[in-house]
Symmetry: C2
């Protein structure tokens, strides 16, 4: 099943969100509109808005906040992508040139700030203190996750706990916030709020696990971005951590370490590390973990009555395991 | 009169703000605490918190929000400094090494984001929608000002109107927000709110005018940052705009243009441009404008009864004209 099919029940809402995203980025300063059109026209999947909208459907909530809060969450997500690209010096993003490689780091930093501010303005527009609490804390956790990831860059001793703390903050938090906001808007009872929030968190973590696995297992064309990029950036993700643990060999660890700390890593080195990770079940274990999180996420939905929204959320969970993008 | 003397009536409050600033930046991630200590220990003047606190004194408002909202405003200001330094590639900030030159651009971008998020969390803590509106719009304007400045970089045709739009957004807005928040917290009548808000805006613009004048008129040691830096960064500020207008000479314009667009500008070039600006009354006119804004700002205060707070605000306005930092 395609993502479009899974999202068909929120098709109208997603169009409204898309309009809202493009409308609110318009600005008399042309650079803002240009960068905005570029990044929001690059075929993002709008996973976070879709989650918020599906969760609203689940609670049968139809208020207007669901549209502009979805845009706000997408703005926050996009702002972190813009800032990430500066941090990572990325050249490709979703198969297209990244904003920083066209307009420069300066513009990416400042337009990212502009998106954060616009999100802030939209969120304040809800006048809902609970929503404001969720999203202000989410942006705080997001920043902490990114900084912790930066601190752990190039640290081959990064533990599994460190890794999960990073991905929970940098990816899980915004997925879970999208779900929690729907519950808050609908004034859902506490147990339902906790379940949908936990569902969001878990599929977010699974999403990141698959992302990190694909960096070792996919090809450039499929991924729409360069692969082996985590290695080149010195990012120690679960596939590598698991492979090192599974290999349990001092000499292999030394080999990996030697390559990992080279000033410039050649194609051969990347292939060596990719093979090392694949042979030592790093990708396999990571995907296994993703499966665990997805089945836990689906379990969280058992508390809800059957409905088209619930079906879509279950299908979305499965889709995350199958994605090749 | 020194700034300390002018701020003596809010001495206790400023200490509480300082504690709050340092307390809220503490984090289990050491990099955040380190960068935080570095930037908040570099002797910032805390002008924006002081403005908020003085305005609260003026309205006799003593609620606890004045402390943490002052910290929030300082966080927003500092986040823009961190991001500015990445944009400008600054090496010095307040006479000390800038954060990006010690920890790298990546950390400056992400810790800036963290400060924005912390500010957002503190502001939400006030549960005051008017305050939230003021500060969310202020951060939006701030980002717009920074982006417009970036767009106008290297544009010798930058108009006086463009220049004032930039400095009003990048500096005036946060000064005026600090003042307006005090009026909102104190539930002040509309006319008083407008006056104090306008006072803040005007001293903010004057502050930036003096800043831009000092870049041509001061020496490295006095300024605590390198001078002639606006030229090197291609920033077209009022001293240059005014000098070009006053000179009214095609051949001088061509000379300036030739130097301005050099790939690397030598010491001699900077001295030529400095002299050109000084001789053609660029600095003089800029300082004259600053005087205009300051007298307008003081005029805004005439609506208030005499009080120690009003006296301090009047002295602060004068101080801005005399500053050499």
């Amino acid at each position: 099943m395609t993502l479009n099919e899974i999202f068909s029940i929120i098709d109208e809402d997603l169009k409204l969100v898309e309009d809202s995203i493009h409308h609110n980025i318009q600005n008399k300063i042309e650079l803002i509109s240009s960068i905005g059109s570029h990044i929001f026209g690059s075929g993002g999947k709008r996973l976070r808005p879709a989650l918020l909208l599906l969760a609203c459907k689940l609670f049968d909530y139809k208020g207007p906040e669901r549209i502009y809060l979805s845009s706000a969450i997408e703005y926050i997500h996009t702002a972190t992508l813009l800032h990430d690209d500066v941090v990572d010096n990325s050249v490709l993003r979703r198969g297209k040139q990244s904003a920083n490689s066209i307009w420069g780091n300066e513009a990416s930093v400042l337009v990212g700030d502009f998106l954060f501010a616009k999100a802030f303005i939209l969120i304040v527009g809800s006048k809902n203190i609970r929503v404001l609490n969720i999203l202000s804390n989410a942006t705080g956790n997001l920043a902490e996750g990114e900084i912790f990831e930066l601190v752990k860059t190039g640290d081959l001793q990064t533990s599994i706990n460190d890794y999960f703390e990073i991905i929970k903050n940098k990816t899980g938090v915004l997925f879970s916030a999208a779900c929690e906001i729907a519950a808050v808007l609908a004034d859902a009872p506490h147990n339902l709020l906790n379940s949908i929030k936990s569902y969001g968190d878990k599929i977010g973590v699974a999403f990141q696990l698959i992302d990190d696995a694909l960096d070792y297992a996919s090809t450039d064309v499929e991924l729409g971005k360069k692969i082996g990029i985590d290695i080149q950036e010195g990012k120690v993700t679960l596939p590598l951590i698991a492979a090192l643990t599974n290999a349990n060999s001092d000499s292999l660890y030394s080999n990996v370490k030697e390559i990992f700390y080279k000033d410039s890593i050649a194609e051969d080195d990347i292939n060596f590390l990719k093979n090392f990770v694949l042979e030592n079940r790093g990708v396999e274990d990571t995907i296994k973990q993703a499966h665990n999180f997805i089945s836990q996420a689906k379990e969280e939905l058992s508390i809800f009555h059957d409905s088209p929204a619930k079906t879509s959320l279950l299908l979305l969970a499965d889709f995350i395991l199958k994605r090749r993008f």
